[in-house]
C-alpha cells in the first residue's frame, strides 16, 4: 500500500479519491446502508436494557441503571458452567457433523449423469428442511420409543437390548445432531451446488487428457473451487457458536436427560416463565453475542492470514 502522499492534489489512497472514482458503487450501497441504519442501528439503543431494570412505564430510556447486575445473576446460577458447556459442545458437535455432509452431497450429486435421478435426489433431500421442529421431534419420539419404536424393534430382532434413547443424557447430543444432519443437509447443499456450476470446464477437460480419474478431478479441481464458499460458511457458522435454538432442545428435553440437554436458551426460558424478564434475557443475549463476535473476529483474522478468504 502506498504511503500517504503529502502533495496537494488528492492522493490515490484517500477515501475522497475512492468516492469520486467509484461513486456509483457508493450510491448502490445507499439503500442497503439506509436499511441497516434504520432497522438495525436505530433500535440498537435497546441494548441498554441489559444494564438496566426495565420499567415499562418509564420506557427504555427512563429505566434505572443497574450495571452488571443481570450478568451477575446469570453467572452465579449454579449450573452456569454446565449450561455453557452443553451449549458449546452441542454446537461444535453439530458443526463438525453437519459441515462436511452438504459438501460431500453436492460433490456426489454433481457427478450424476442421469438428470432425472439427480433431480429426484435433490428434491427429496431438501424436503425435510420444511418439516417443523414439532413434527421432527414428534417423529423422533415415536421412532425411538422403547416399546413401540421401530429402532428398538430392529435392535431387539438383532438380539440386542432395548434402549430408552430419550431418557439417556448420553444419547441426547447424538439424537439432536444427527436428526439435524438428516433434516438440513439437502438444503445446505444448495449453495455448494451453485458454487460448483462455476467450475471451469476447461480444467476438467485438461485433467482428463492428462489421465486423471473422477476422484482425482474432484479432489484437485472441484474442492478448491468451492473452498472459498466453504470457508465463508464455516466462519459464519462459528459466529453462531453460542446460539442453540430454543425450540428443538425444549421439545427433546425431559427430566431424565437434563444434565446434557439444559442449554442457555432453555434456562432463560424458565426464568421468564415466572414473569417477563427483558433485562435478564437481553443481558444473556448480549453475553452470547459478545462471545460470538470475539470468536468470529479471531477466526476471520486467522482465515485471512492463512487462506486469504475472509469476511472482511
Amino acid at each position: 500500500m502506498n504511503k500517504k502522499s503529502k502533495k496537494s492534489r488528492i492522493s490515490k489512497d484517500s477515501i475522497l479519491y475512492d468516492i469520486i472514482k467509484n461513486k456509483t458503487l457508493y450510491i448502490m450501497l445507499l439503500p442497503v446502508t439506509t436499511y441497516f441504519l434504520i432497522f438495525c442501528y436505530w433500535p440498537m439503543y435497546g441494548v441498554q436494557i441489559a444494564f438496566k431494570n426495565f420499567n415499562a412505564a418509564k420506557g427504555i430510556m427512563g429505566s434505572p441503571w443497574v450495571g452488571f447486575y443481570h450478568f451477575q445473576r446469570f453467572f452465579r446460577s449454579y449450573n452456569f458452567v454446565t449450561l455453557i458447556t452443553n451449549t458449546i459442545t452441542l454446537n461444535l458437535y453439530n458443526l463438525v457433523a453437519s459441515f462436511p455432509a452438504p459438501i460431500i452431497l453436492a460433490l456426489l450429486l454433481n457427478e450424476v449423469a442421469n438428470s432425472k435421478f439427480k433431480r429426484v435426489v435433490q428434491t427429496v433431500t431438501y424436503a425435510p428442511h420444511f418439516l417443523s421442529t414439532v413434527v421432527v421431534t414428534g417423529m423422533l419420539t415415536t421412532l425411538l420409543s422403547p416399546k413401540t419404536g421401530i429402532v428398538n424393534h430392529l435392535i431387539a430382532t438383532l438380539g440386542g437390548e432395548r434402549i430408552y434413547f430419550m431418557g439417556e443424557p448420553a444419547w441426547f447430543k447424538h439424537i439432536y445432531v444427527w436428526s439435524g444432519v438428516w433434516q438440513h443437509t439437502g438444503w445446505s447443499a444448495i449453495i455448494y451446488l451453485a458454487a460448483l456450476t462455476s467450475v471451469d470446464q476447461q480444467q476438467h477437460e485438461a485433467a482428463i487428457i492428462d489421465g486423471a480419474n473422477k476422484v482425482q478431478r474432484i479432489w484437485y479441481i472441484n474442492i478448491p473451487a468451492i473452498l472459498p464458499t466453504a470457508i465463508i460458511l464455516l466462519i459464519l457458522n462459528l459466529g453462531q457458536i453460542m446460539n442453540v435454538g430454543f425450540e428443538k432442545v425444549f421439545l427433546l428435553q425431559n427430566d431424565l436427560n437434563l444434565k446434557s440437554s439444559d442449554v442457555i436458551s432453555t434456562y432463560v426460558y424458565r426464568m421468564g416463565l415466572l414473569g417477563a424478564q427483558y433485562s435478564f434475557s437481553t443481558a444473556v443475549g448480549l453475553f452470547n453475542s459478545v462471545i460470538n463476535f470475539i470468536l468470529i473476529v479471531v477466526v476471520n483474522y486467522i482465515s485471512r492470514k492463512v487462506s486469504e478468504v475472509s469476511l472482511w
Binding site: 477515501i15 475512492d18 467509484n22 458503487l25 457508493y26 448502490m28 450501497l29 439503500p31 442497503v32 436499511y35 441497516f36 434504520i38 432497522f39 436505530w42 433500535p43 440498537m44 435497546g46 436494557i49 456426489l108 450429486l109 457427478e111 450424476v112 435421478f117 435426489v121 435433490q122 428434491t123 427429496v124 433431500t125 424436503a127 425435510p128 420444511f130 418439516l131 417443523s132 413434527v135 414428534g138 420409543s145 419404536g149 438428516w182 444448495i190 449453495i191 451453485a194 458454487a195 456450476t197 462455476s198 471451469d200 470446464q201 476447461q202 482428463i208 480419474n213 473422477k214 472459498p228 464458499t229 465463508i232 427483558y278 443475549g285 453475542s289 463476535f293 468470529i296 469476511l311 472482511w312
Partner: protein, 295 residues
Amino acid sequence: MNTIARTKADKVFDTINVIILSLVLVIILYPLIFVVVASVSDPLRVLQGEVWLWPKGLNLESYKLVFSHSQIMIGYRNTLFYTLLGTLINLVMTSLGAYPLSRRDFRARSFFTFLFTFTMFFSGGMIPTYLVVKQLGLLDKIWAMLLPGAVSVWNMTIMRNYFQTSIPFELQESAMIDGCGNLSLLIRIVLPLSVPIIAVMVIFYGVGHWNSYFNALIYLTDQNKYPLQLVLRSILMKEETSEMIAADDSVIRRQMMAEILKYAAIIVSSVPVLLLYPFLQKYFVHGIMVGALKG
C-alpha cells in the same frame, strides 16, 4: 456432457456414487412418507405406533379440518403476495449491496462489510425494533412484512462471495477500460453470469418469506393480512384444547386429531414451495463464461 470414455476407476466411482445417493434417498425419504401417510390416517393408530408405510384407517378429516377454515385461502393469497414482492425487493437490495463489496478496488469495502456484519451480532431486541416500525407508521401495514428483513447479511455475504470467486475481475476490468460504468457492469455483465446464485437467493429468501410468521405476529392485527403460517398456527392451537371440559367423545377425537393435524399442516404449507426447487434447478448450469473470457 463428457463423451470421452470413462476409465474403469470412473465406472467404479459412478456405481458407488449411485449406491450412496440411493441410500441417502431412502433414509431421507422414509420419514417424509411417514408424514404424508400419517396425515391421512386414523389418529389413534398413528399414536399407537401402528402406522409404518401405508395409511391405516384412511381418512381425510385432517385436511377437511384445515381447509374448512376460510382463513386458509386468505393465508395462501397473502403469503404468495408477500413472497413474490418480498423476494423481488430482497434480490434488488442484496445485489446492490453485495456487488460493491465484492470489488477488490473498492477501498471502503472492509468498512461496509464490518458495518453490516456487526448487525448480525448486536441487536436492540424485539421491543425497540417494534417501536421503530411503529414510528415509521408501518404497523398493521403490508410493508411491515416486506421492509424489516429486506436484507439478510448472511445471504448478502454468500452472494458477495460468489461474485468474488466466480466472476473474474479481469473481465470487469476489461469492460471498465472499454468505458463501462459500474451500474452497467453489474446489470449487463455480472448478473447474467450469476444466474445460479440468483436462483439460490430466490430459494433462500422465498422460503424465508413463505415460512415466516413472527413479523406478522407482532406487527399485524388485521386478520385479512395474515400469512399462511400464522393461520396454520391458530388452526393447530384451535384443535388442541388443553382443558378437557365435558364428557364428549368428539373432544377426545379433537385432541387426537391435533396430533395428525401437525402433519397435514406441514403438507399444506410445504407442497407449493417444494415444487419451487425442481423448477429452479435448470438455472444451476455452468455460466457462459468461457466465451466471454476468450472474447
